[in-house]
Amino acid sequence: MSLNASEIQRIANLARLELTPDQSERMLTQINSFFEIVEQMRAVDTTGIEPLAHPVAVMQDIALRLREDIASEPNQREANQQSAPAVERGLFLVPKVIE
């Protein structure tokens, strides 16, 4: 399985990454060489095997832990926004969002 340049473009777009033509080309070569080692994986017969999303499910039945519905987080806006690139009147500023 190998990708082409337009797919690299599509994925870069989905991932919101700007790549120069040079970077795109290099990315294409590297990713394709990566997918060569992936091919053997695709050929494995996994009929009847359930995917393993949480590794310790092998060890014990895991279930989502639920917490009581209590609002205990205090307002820490200043501390939370100390590393924000652009803030005004408590709002994070971004280039205009067009709907």
Binding site: M27, R42, V44, E50, P95
Partner: protein
């Protein structure tokens, strides 16, 4: 009088408790050493620096040390009161910036501490600073950092391993008695092996991931790195334990004293030897010390059991599908909106996203985001992501099968010793292939430990890997400790340090 930096964590804790040295003196001693080995953002480390430290804050460290001294005086000291620790820059800290080795977070300050950091602090440990690592924990040589590449203290022209390269180098160079690391595909075990120190990745879910910047959520685990199994056991006991309020993947098993079995004799221990770990790819200079180590275990009463882990090689594509997939999603929050880097003068919102992320992320991170995005995308999910998760289950089953025949599994950590800086940086896949022995245990969520067992080509350290069944860390530490009472590889120092 032994220099402070030559003392183990256990010995140092004793000295502090006995008030033969103060926490402030101890901190100052290590800070002076650490200051010689700092990294620079976007430039190689200066002079003889090994580039291990990316952040120091003398005021904060000494304030913690003074508080420790107060508790030591008052008799309210924790088990590790006043003992210095340095944290891999993947753990968020309030007193120090956190960069995750990335330009994306070059001036990020977290409003909270990682649970692991807080737990070690609650035992009285004093934070020396933050340690260099591969960007967002992605890498096997600490060459993918936005900061200087870290230099192996044993040979400055070589990598220390990764992604916890700064942690391993700092411990090996005795800049700190202990460090925290994280292991997703081998990132504690492999640098421990390459730098001749001891490190352990516990069972997935033992240590809280809250405050540990996520790379691959179902694989990431925190663990200690130090110069002995005994020290690692002390640290592991302090940092593990359920964190139900903050981490839903945290295991609901009580905190343990992992030092409790250290003295148990190895008589009758069944050590599984997977044939797949000893194939052609294993360099001869690594094979020799490994086999010698296995013999040493036998001399102590262990029995070697040949067995198979047939899907060992498959671990590579499986890991490099699953980890990037999770990473591609975990790293979406780095978008320039709420924190971190933002590009200057974006044309519009989309431009802001694309340029911010292009500027903030390094090449390896971008590569993995691309791979991850691809394998999750429409039409490819079943063939890649789902398939990889199924094989993951098969790999975990293979281990369960193996553990019916043995108590622990032993083998090399890596196929070679540390390679030269720059040697594999143009060939990402070559880096991936070298992870072959550490990936399987990561995928299964099993605990794994690396301890020094000899020297290979160029006098570079070789690590022995021990893999245990779920929740068997005490046993792994026991085996390692018994080995370390009969041998002295773990006491060897690199010649390069002062």
């Amino acid at each position: 009088m032994t220099a402070l930096h030559d003392l183990s964590v256990a010995a140092l804790a004793a000295e502090l408790r006995a008030k033969r040295v103060s926490a402030v003196e101890t901190a100052q001693h290590f800070l002076a050493r650490a200051a010689q080995h700092t990294a620079r953002l976007g430039a190689p480390a200066e002079g003889a620096s090994n580039g291990a430290f990316v952040a120091l804050n003398e005021d904060a460290t000494l304030a913690q040390a003074r508080a420790a001294d107060a508790r030591l005086a008052a008799g309210t000291a924790g088990r590790l009161e006043g003992v210095p620790i340095a944290h891999k820059d993947i753990f968020v800290t309030r007193d120090f910036p956190t960069t995750a080795g990335s330009k994306m977070l070059s001036n990020y300050r977290s409003p909270f501490d990682a649970t692991v950091v807080a737990r070690l602090a609650s035992e009285g440990m004093v934070t020396l600073g933050k340690l260099n690592c591969d960007e967002f924990a992605m890498g096997s040589g600490n060459e993918n950092s936005a900061w200087s590449a870290v230099r192996n203290p044993w040979d400055a022209s070589r990598i220390p391993g990764g992604s916890s390269g700064g942690s391993a180098a700092a411990v090996a160079a005795r800049l700190t008695p202990a460090a925290t690391g994280t292991d997703t595909g081998g990132s504690i075990r492999q640098p421990a092996s390459f730098c001749g120190i001891t490190g352990i990745k516990p069972t997935y879910g033992r240590a809280s991931r809250y405050g540990m910047i996520a790379y691959a959520s179902s694989l990431d685990q925190a663990g200690p790195m130090a110069r002995s199994a005994e020290d690692c056991a002390l640290l592991l006991s302090a940092l593990c334990g359920p964190d139900p309020d903050r981490d839903s993947t945290s295991l609901d098993v009580p905190a343990e004293d992992f030092s409790r079995d250290l003295q148990r004799p190895l008589q009758g221990l069944r050590v599984g030897i997977p044939a797949e770990f000893f194939g052609e790819g294993l360099a001869a200079d690594v094979r020799v010390p490994i086999e010698a180590a296995l013999q040493a275990l036998v001399d102590q009463g262990a029995v070697l059991v040949p067995l198979h882990l047939p899907r060992t090689e498959l671990a590579i594509p499986v890991y490099y599908i699953l980890a990037p997939a999770e990473a591609s999603s975990n790293l979406s929050r780095f978008d320039g909106v709420k924190f971190g880097h933002r590009t200057k003068n974006p044309a519009d919102l989309i431009d802001m996203y694309k340029k911010t992320r292009a500027e903030g992320f390094g090449d390896e991170v971008k590569r993995r985001i691309m791979i991850g995005t691809y394998v999750l995308s429409h039409g490819y999910y079943d063939a890649y992501y789902l398939q990889a998760q199924k094989i993951r289950r098969m790999i975990a089953s293979d281990f369960q099968q193996a553990f019916t025949q043995c108590d622990v599994i032993a083998g090399p950590v890596a196929p070679t010793v540390a390679w030269k800086i720059g040697e594999k940086s143009d060939d990402p896949v070559a880096n991936y292939l070298a992870d072959i022995f550490t990936l399987p245990a990561s995928l299964a969520g099993l605990p794994g430990l690396s301890l020094p067992c000899g020297l290979g080509a160029g006098g570079m350290p070789v690590g022995l890997q021990l893999i245990g069944n779920y929740l068997s860390e005490a046993r792994l530490l026991n085996v390692a400790h018994q080995y370390q009472t009969a041998t002295d590889w773990h006491t060897r120092q690199p010649g390069a340090t002062a």
